[in-house]
Amino acid sequence: MKIAVCVKCVPDSSAHTRIDPATKRLDRSGEAALNAFDVNAVEEALRLREAAGEAEVVVLSLGPERALEPMRKALAMGADRLVLVSDEGAAGSDLVATSRILGAALERESPDLVLFGQQASDADGAVLQAAVADRLQRPLISQVAELTREDGKLRGKRQTEYGYDVIEAPLPAVVAVSDAINEPRYPSLKGIMGAKSKPQETLSLGDLGVAADEAGEAGSRTTVLALGEPPARGDTVKIEDDGSGADKILKFLLEKKAL
C-alpha cells in the first residue's frame, strides 16, 4: 500500500502573521512550520502502515523551497520520503489552481490513499481535500475522527452539525482527518538524524506537465481586491500571568459586574 499525505507549511504560530500589502498575499517570510493539523495526518499514515505491516508513506506539499525543512519533521516522525512541488509560477495559487497542481503530483504518485489534515491554520478553509478528491475522481471522507480499515475498505466516523456519521469508502480514496484523531508522536533523535538521508524530491510545474497559465495567479479564479482593517471590537486586554492572573480575572469580573 502507498499512502500520500498532503501537508502545508505555514507561518510559525510564534511569528506575527500578516498579509503583505504589496502582493496581497500572506507574508511567508517568517519562520515556517508544518501545519499542526497535518501532523495528525502524518501520524495516521504511520499508524495505518504499522497496522498493515507494510506501506510506503510519502509526504507531499506545494510551497516555497523553504518548506523542505519543516517537511523533514514528517520524515523524522517516520515517513519514507517527501515530494515538494516548488515553482515561482505556482505562487498565489487559489483552490482551483492548488488542487490542479496537487492533483497532477498525486496522479504521478498514484497512491492507494491520500490523507489530508483538517484545515490549514493560515487559511482555515478545510476545502482542498474535496477539490483534490474531485480532480482524482476518488471517493472522499472528510473530517474523520476515527478511521478503521477492513477488507480494503475504509470506515470513517466524523462529526457534522447533527451528530456523528459513519461513512465507508473503497480504496483508492481521499480522507481528511480531524485534529482529535490521534496524538502525534514526537520524532526520536534517531528519526531526526535519519531524516536528512531519506529521498527528497523537488518538482517544478514543468515536471508535472502543468502549464504556466494553469497555475499561480494566472490559473486562479479568485482574487484579493483590497485589504482592510476589521471593525474595531472594543477594548481587548491581554496580560501575562505573573502569579496574579486569577486575581486580575476576578477584578475584571467585578468591574464588569459579572459576578
Binding site: D94, G103, L140, D165, V224, T236, A246, F252
Partner: protein, 320 residues
C-alpha cells in the same frame, strides 16, 4: 446576475443558514433560484419560495438520500451548466464545504470561502472575508464565472419576502466515483444532554486541559460561578466530553453573559458558536492563540495554575 443557492436540509427541515444565504442573495438583486437535492424533498422545495426564490430546482433521487457530497457535485454540475448560473452560493457546513470545493474543481471555478458578507460594488460581486484569525479583512473577488461562495455559518438571518415558487424537477447522471462512498450510519439528533444554550455563564474547556480528567477543574470553576460547562470539537471528538456540550459550527451556538475559555485556541469554527457572548475571558499559555484576538480579557499563562486559584477566589467572594 443569475444566482443559484444550494439549500441544505436535515430530517425534513430546510437548514436555517442556507435560507439566510437565500435571503441575502434576494437582497442583492438579479434572478435568484434555489436547488434542493435529496430523496422525498419536493415539499421542502415549495417552502423555499417564502424566502424569495422564484424558482426551485429539485432532484429527487434515492442516490441523493444520504447527505454525501460527491453525487451532489454531479447534480450541481448539470444544473449550473443547463441553467446558465453565474453565481452559486452555499452556507458553510460540513456537507456544503465538500460540495462547493468539489464543484469548484469540477467547473474550474473560483471559490471564496469563510465569507461574512456579500456586497455588490460597481456592479461586481464582492465577498468580505476576515482572515488570519479575523485580524484583517479581505475583499475577495472572482476573475471568471461561475462565482462560487461559501458563507461562514451563522452569518445571515432568513427573512420571509417571497411567495410560491415555480418548482422544477430535473435529472442528472452520476459519476461512478461519486457513488463509491456510502453512508453506513447517519447522524440523528443526539439525545438530551446538559443544556448550555440557556446558561448565563459558561466555562468552556479545550485540548489545553490535557485529558478528560482536566475537565474536573472546569466543572469546579463553573460550579463556583453558577454556570454550565462547554467544550470544543477537538475534545468532544477525542471522547473527553459529551457532544451535547460542544460549542461551535457543528455544535451549539451560545450567547451567555460570560464565557470563560480555558485551554482553547479559538479557531473560527469555535468562534462562530460563542462570539456573541457579552464578555469573553480567555486563559491560554500561547500568547499568539487566536482567541486573544477577540477575548475581552485574556491571560497568557498555565491554566493549571490559574483555574484552581480563580475558583477559590470566586468561592471566597461568594461566601463573603
Amino acid at each position: 446576475m443569475k444566482t443559484l443557492v444550494f439549500l441544505e436540509h436535515h430530517e425534513g427541515v430546510l437548514q436555517k443558514d442556507s435560507l439566510g444565504v437565500l435571503s441575502k442573495a434576494v437582497s442583492l438583486g438579479g434572478e435568484v433560484e434555489a436547488v434542493v437535492l435529496g430523496q422525498g424533498v419536493e415539499e421542502l422545495a415549495a417552502g423555499a419560495g417564502r424566502f424569495g426564490a422564484t424558482r426551485v430546482h429539485v432532484m429527487d433521487d434515492v442516490l441523493l438520500a444520504a447527505p454525501l457530497p460527491q453525487p451532489r457535485v454531479d447534480a450541481l454540475e448539470t444544473l449550473v451548466g443547463e441553467g446558465g448560473f453565474d453565481t452559486v452560493l452555499f452556507a458553510a457546513s460540513v456537507l456544503s464545504a465538500d460540495v462547493a470545493a468539489g464543484l469548484a474543481a469540477r467547473l474550474g471555478a473560483g471559490l471564496n470561502y469563510d465569507l461574512t458578507d456579500l456586497v455588490v460594488e460597481d456592479g461586481q460581486l464582492v465577498g468580505k472575508r476576515p482572515a488570519l484569525g479575523d485580524s484583517v479583512y479581505v475583499d475577495a473577488g472572482w476573475t471568471s464565472e461561475p462565482r462560487l461562495a461559501l458563507v461562514r455559518s451563522g452569518t445571515f438571518e432568513p427573512s420571509e419576502t417571497g411567495g410560491s415558487p415555480d418548482v422544477q424537477a430535473y435529472e442528472s447522471r452520476f459519476q461512478d466515483f461519486s457513488l463509491a462512498a456510502t453512508m453506513v450510519e447517519q447522524a440523528h439528533e443526539e439525545a438530551e444532554g446538559p443544556s448550555i444554550e440557556d446558561a448565563e455563564v459558561i466555562v468552556a474547556g479545550g485540548r489545553g486541559l490535557g485529558g478528560p480528567e482536566g475537565f474536573a477543574q472546569v466543572e469546579e470553576l463553573a460550579k463556583a460561578l453558577g454556570g454550565a460547562v462547554a467544550a470544543t470539537r477537538a475534545v468532544v471528538d477525542a471522547g473527553w466530553y459529551p457532544y451535547a456540550a460542544q460549542v461551535g459550527q457543528t455544535g451549539k451556538t451560545v450567547s451567555p453573559k460570560l464565557y470563560v475559555a480555558v485551554g482553547i485556541s479559538g479557531a473560527i469554527q469555535h468562534k462562530v458558536g460563542m462570539q456573541s457572548s457579552a464578555l469573553i475571558v480567555a486563559i491560554n499559555k500561547d500568547p499568539n492563540a487566536p482567541i486573544f484576538e477577540y477575548a475581552d480579557f485574556g491571560v497568557v499563562g498555565d491554566l493549571n495554575e490559574i483555574v484552581p486559584k480563580l475558583t477559590e477566589l470566586v468561592r471566597q467572594r461568594r461566601a463573603a
